[in-house]
Each structure stands twice: as structure tokens, then as C-alpha cells.
Amino acid sequence: MLSLRLYMFQRLSALLTAPFVVGHLAVMIYAIQGGLSAAEILERTQGSVLWFLFYGIFVVAVSIHGAIGLRAIALEWGGLKGAALEGFMWLVGLGLLALGARAVWAVTFSQGVGV
Amino acid sequence: MKVSDIERHDTDILILGTGGAGLFAALHAQQTAPEGAKITIAVKGLIGKCGCTRMVQGGYNVALGGGDTVERHFMDTINGGKWLPNQDMAWRLCEQAVIRIRELENEVGCFFDRNADGSLHQKAFAGQTADRTVHKGDLTGIEIINRLMEKVLASGVEKLQEHRAVGLIPTKDSRALAGVLMIDMRTGKFRLVRAKTVMMGTGGGPTMYKYHTPSGDKTMDGLAMALRAGLTLRDMEMVQFHPTGLLAGDHTRMTGTVLEEGLRGAGGQLISHTGQRFMFDYDDRGERATRDVVSRGIYAEMRKNNNPEQEGVFISMAHLGPDNVRKKFKGMVNRCADSGFDLAAGKVEVVPTAHYFMGGVVVDVDTRTEMEGLYVAGEDAGGAHGSNRLGGNGVANSTVYGGIAGDTMGRDVAGMSLRDPDEDVLAAEFERAIYPLSRKPDLVLPLRKQLQNIMWDDVGVMRTEAGMKRGLKGIASVSEALMDVGVEDSNLAFNLTWHDWLNLRSLCDVSEVIAKAGIARENSRGAHFREDYPEPGAMEDSAFTVATLQNGRVAVNNEPVQFTIVRPGETVLPEGAPETLVAAQ
């Protein structure tokens, strides 16, 4: 029961996500050389407003996109309907957002504003 | 099952059938009926998905200027019908077609093929003196019926789908119609639908011939019901054969289906069993002669050959270039390919095939019948075509008169009320329909084949008195044998075998009328060809046959044609009008 609005949000958030995914992948391919470590990640991201924005927007877009996506699957394969379906979508969306926000916060500003 | 089990249902306007006639009647009735009038449409199949209007290929005849006029269309129709048509009906057909085609394009939303300048494209079928046939590729009927069907589905009329009408039930004094007895085919239950006005548009359908084109649901039910209800039928000997039906063997329903006229028009050649072209032996227009002439030519060749292994003749297109044929006749080529034939490069076996029924119920120009409350339009109504229907006049006829029936009913219904049925007739019709359920079950199909062979051999493309008399005996014996064939009654829901039985019942009843009317006409006109009377007779003395049931027996009489608009030898065209406007091919 994807109406036009949900459809548009999903497509637009997908388009928004795409450059971030590419960026993220590029960083991963670059970063993974020589193995990953917490320090390495944090060194890059701690205290950076840019990285905060990068991952922040990424998380918001993906939460919207993923929630609407799972809604379709819940409807078609899970048989959810009506309020249960909408509730499920919001739960997924807000859940992803919360977890994502926490993660972004963790890798950027959780130790205070750095250099 | 008992008579008391019949469910009763009331409506104001009841329409039987959803071909061009039925669907147009529904739309027009809605436009003219008083506010709140209930309209019900009942049909043997699904709305818009049965009947022959959907199968129309070539197109729709209408005079739209460019030199062509209603007068010219009318003269072609009269000439084509060999002076037998009811002239007022033929005139109304030609005149109203102009309005109906605009209605189809503008209100119903059909799209017909255009010329490069954006105007409607028109072509000429055989027998026409102007490029007059409007079409949508070679699938004109699909376009017309799909669009009409949408309109009707969206209009909110009451739908009784897969409801088969089995009997017209009059009032006690049998002056007026009270309602129609039906079988709800999905459940096998009976339903009497009372209505103030009923339009019958069940579309005839000469499917009692071994080779036939109409859809499987058409089995002359309407005419059989009308006959039993005491109505007068006219022109019942007039069965049109299409020259090129696909011959794909005994065991496929594909056999008999039409290979379109356009193939011959484009230069397709007919080849006999000896590999020779033969049509020029019969007519100097060769393969491009009219349907009746080509049908007889093919039939004669088949008789010469008389080989049960290879009955038909062949149509060959390959000389026009297989790729060209594939492009121009994609639909036909694909259809042939599905049954294993290569129309583009090879040759395909064909036979004449029963296509259209010119005969039908006698009506006035407003589709009213002798029975108050009953209206008939489309192929069920007789008169507009006389002895032969021009290609393209069939769908024009059903849509024009269907609309007229809707308008007429919409107006008449205001002053009418529901009538009480004659319960005795109701009981008799009910008993008639459940008759086979109490007999020992047996196969229906062999009898149907038997009837089809008899009609093909003895009451077919070429007829003689002796043949038709033999045919009558054959029909009677099938008819009798049918009464000994029962149908298993364990489950009557969607029981096609029961309906096969009822179909054959209608076909037997009407076959008898066809043969009797054929015997009564001792000359050859249009579709009716008597080897023992090959001459057409004097046009001035033209008469048409009328058949009625009198004391349980079919009686046929002749009635003189009233030349209300034009007399033989005269024309309504202005002086000096050219013979034909069609450019020589």
C-alpha cells in the first residue's frame, strides 16, 4: 500500500543515500588497507563537524528509506495491514534512527569536541 | 428442483447479451430512462467478453463524406441484400451510423485508425462503392467492445453475468412480456427476472454448421426463445458464409475461425487441390469477388475433389513476400502459427464457414416487436440486411439498433409497470430446461457433430429441395435423439454439459426453421443459393419469408417486400452519380 508520498520519500531518500554509500565504500576501501582499528576510525572522525554531517544525513536518509522498504516487505510477505503495518514502519524508522544517531554520536562527538 | 425453487427478481429494464447491441442499449437506456430506473444486464458469459462484436476485424461501415453519402451507403446495402431488406431499417442503419461512430469516438472513447492528415481512415469491403469502413487495425471489435464494456462496468448497472436466458415468459393473455427465465450458470439455480421492458440482443449465431466463425456462447438461443414465444421470424434461410475459415482438423475449436477478408483483398490467392488458381473460373473479379460468390466457388472445388483427407482449398500469400505478409497481417500470421501453419511463406487450408445470420425477429424501426415490452436488436433482429449483409454493416447494425433500443425502452418504461407472468408457461419453460437432468446421461457432442454435418451438407452453401428435405429429416432425428440424452445432475454449478445440451436444443429448433425457409424460397438471392432454382427471380416481385410456430409446427409464408424508399431499377443517388468511388485496384 505504498502511496505516492511514501514512494517519493523512498525514492528521494534513496537518491540521497547513493552518494553517501559511494563515499562510505570509498573510505572503507581506503581505510581497510592495513586493517581496521577503533583508534584509526576515531582518529578520522572524532570531533569533525563534516563527518558528523556526513554520517548524520546518511543515517537519517537510510532510516527513512529502510523503514519504507521494510514496510513493503512486511505488507507483501508478512501480511501486515492497517495500523500494525504503519506502526511497524515507524518502529523500524525510529529504531534505525535512534541506533544510527547513537553510533554517529559515538564516533564523532562522544569524547568532546576535538581538534 | 421444483418450480417453486425459482428465485424471483425484479428490474425495470432488462438487457440480454453484451455485444454491440446489449452494451449500447445499456448506455442509452441510462441516458433516457427516468431517474432511478433500474437497469439490469444479463449475459451468458462475462460482460463484454463474449459474443461476436468483439471478434469484428474488418470494421464499421459509415458514410462520412469525401463524396460518400448516406444515400450511397443505403443503395449499397439494398443492392447487397438483393432488394430484400426492410428499406426503412436499412435507411435508419445508414443514417444513424454517422451519429453512432461519433458517439463511439467522442463519448465512448474508441480510437479508429487515421489518415496522415489526422482524419478517419476508411477502406472498402467487397460490395461497396466507396471507401467507407472505419477500423482499428484488424481488431476493430476489440476496441469497440472494450471501450463500451468499461463504460457499462463503470455505470453501475446491475450485472447478472453467466446468466443464460432460457425462456421468454409472457403474461397470461400472452400479449405482453412479463419476464425472462434464466439459469444462473455459476450455481445452476433458476431465476425469473421480471422487467417492464426487455431487450434481446443474444446475437443469433449460425453455429449449427460444421464450420462456423461465431464465439462458442452463441447458439441461437434468442431466436429459439422468440419462436416459442410466438414471435414472427423473417429471412430465416439467409445464412452468410465467410469464404475463408481455417481448416485445422476435427479436434480443434480453431477450425472454422476466420482468416480475414483483407488477405484476399491484398492479393491472396486461392489454390485448389490440384494446385491451380480457380476463382477466375467463377467470377471475373477472381478472389476479390463478394463473399457469397467466393464461398460458392470454394465449395464447388471442394465438391469436385471430394477427398475426406484433404477437404478444403488453400490460401497462399507467399508470392507477396513472406516478410511483407508477416508485417501486414501480423495477427493472422501468429494465429495460424499457433495451430501449426505458416501463412506468410506456406499455404493454409481453408473452407467456407458459417459467419452471420441475416434472419431474425420481425421488429419495427424502433426495435419494438409484436409483444409489448420486448425489443430486439443486433443480429437477433431481421430485416436490415435482407439476403446478404455487407462486410462492415454487422457491427454498425448492432451498435445503431442497440442504442435505439436503449432510447426506446428508456422512454417507454415510464408508462409501464411490472406484469405478472403466466405461471403455466413459466412451469413449462422450467421443465424444458431441466428435462435432460432426469434422463440417463450420455454424450452430447456426437449429436452436435451430427447436426453440424447435416446442416453443412444439406442446408449449406448450395442447396436443393431434395437436399433440404433430407436435411429436415436429419434435423428431426438429431432432435429426437437429443431427448434421449440425459445430463448427469450431481453438480449443476457451472455445468457446461447441461449447457451444451441446451445449446443443441436451440440449434435444432432453429435449424428446422432455416431448412423450411430455405425450401420455401424457390430462387437464389444473396446468401441463399438454390442449385435447382439458380435465378434470382424478378426484383419487382421480391418477397421475404416469415416463419412462426403454429400449434407446435413451424409454418413459413412469403410476404412481399414494401419498396418504401426506392424501387428496383431506381436509385436515390443524384443523377449522374458515378457507379463507384473506389479506385480500381
Binding site: 525514492r11 534513496a14 537518491l15 543515500t17 547513493a18 554509500v21 559511494v22 565504500l25 572503507m28 576501501i29 581497510i32 588497507q33 586493517g35 581496521l36 582499528s37 577503533a38 583508534a39 576510525i41 576515531l42 543515517v59 537510510v62 529502510g66 522498504g69 521494510l70 516487505i73 507483501e76 510477505w77 523500524v92 529504531g95 534505525l96 541506533l99 544510527g100 547513537r102 553510533a103 554520536w105 559515538a106 564516533v107 562522544s110 569524547q111 | -
Partner: protein, 117 residues
């Protein structure tokens, strides 16, 4: 899954593209919370995060990650393909696009894999 009943001949490129897109989206959506949870350890338990990150050395985990990147790539290309066909006024070379999307995803994933080794 009612969808599995009835029709049996689904194996045509566009249907495969659809199911791949759906399964990859589903897998991504399931993986994402895990991913977030692990990253959030940066805040709560940096040592354990390192422990996890070291795991990336193990072959099994490598392959899992390869799969993940592959999923992400395949889903992205598949999704862009869909949006392109829906919003851009062309649609004929659908199958080519579907194949192209899969091929592109493979390239990225393999690149990732090579670097990872």
C-alpha cells in the same frame, strides 16, 4: 510467502533483478542495526570495538563483509536502475541495465575484497 504458490516460471532477468534487490535490501536492513550497535561501542566500550575490528582479519568474517559490500553495491545499482527506468524517459534496454547493475556491483565488491586481502 503466498507469492511462491502458483506460477513457477519466474526465472527471467527482471524478476531475478527484483528478488535480488529485495533480498539485498532486506539483508542490509537487518545488518544495519548490528553495524550501528558495533560502532556505538566506540563510545561505550572502545576495547571491545577493537576486538570486533580485529575479527575482520578472520577469513570467515572477510567473506561476510565481502558479501555485505556486494549487497550494498548490488542494491544501490539495482535501485538506481529502477529509479532511472521510472523517472528517465527510456525503458527499452531494461535487461541490459539489470545485467549492468549486477556486473557493476561485482566490480566494486571484488575491488573491496582485493584491498581487504
Amino acid at each position: 510467502m503466498k507469492a511462491a504458490k502458483g506460477i513457477t516460471s519466474r526465472a527471467h532477468p527482471l524478476w531475478l533483478a527484483y528478488i535480488l534487490h529485495r533480498l539485498s535490501g532486506l539483508a542490509l536492513a537487518l545488518f544495519l542495526p548490528l553495524h550501528f550497535w558495533v560502532l556505538a561501542m566506540a563510545m561505550t566500550d572502545p576495547v571491545r570495538l577493537d576486538g570486533f575490528l580485529h575479527l575482520t582479519e578472520a577469513a570467515a568474517v572477510k567473506i561476510a563483509e565481502f558479501g555485505l559490500v556486494f549487497l550494498l553495491a548490488i542494491h544501490m545499482f539495482g535501485g538506481l536502475r529502477l529509479i532511472a527506468m521510472e523517472w528517465l524517459p527510456w525503458s527499452a534496454p531494461q535487461k541490459t541495465l539489470a545485467a549492468g547493475a549486477t556486473a557493476g556491483s561485482f566490480c566494486i565488491a571484488i575491488l573491496f575484497f582485493m584491498k581487504a586481502i
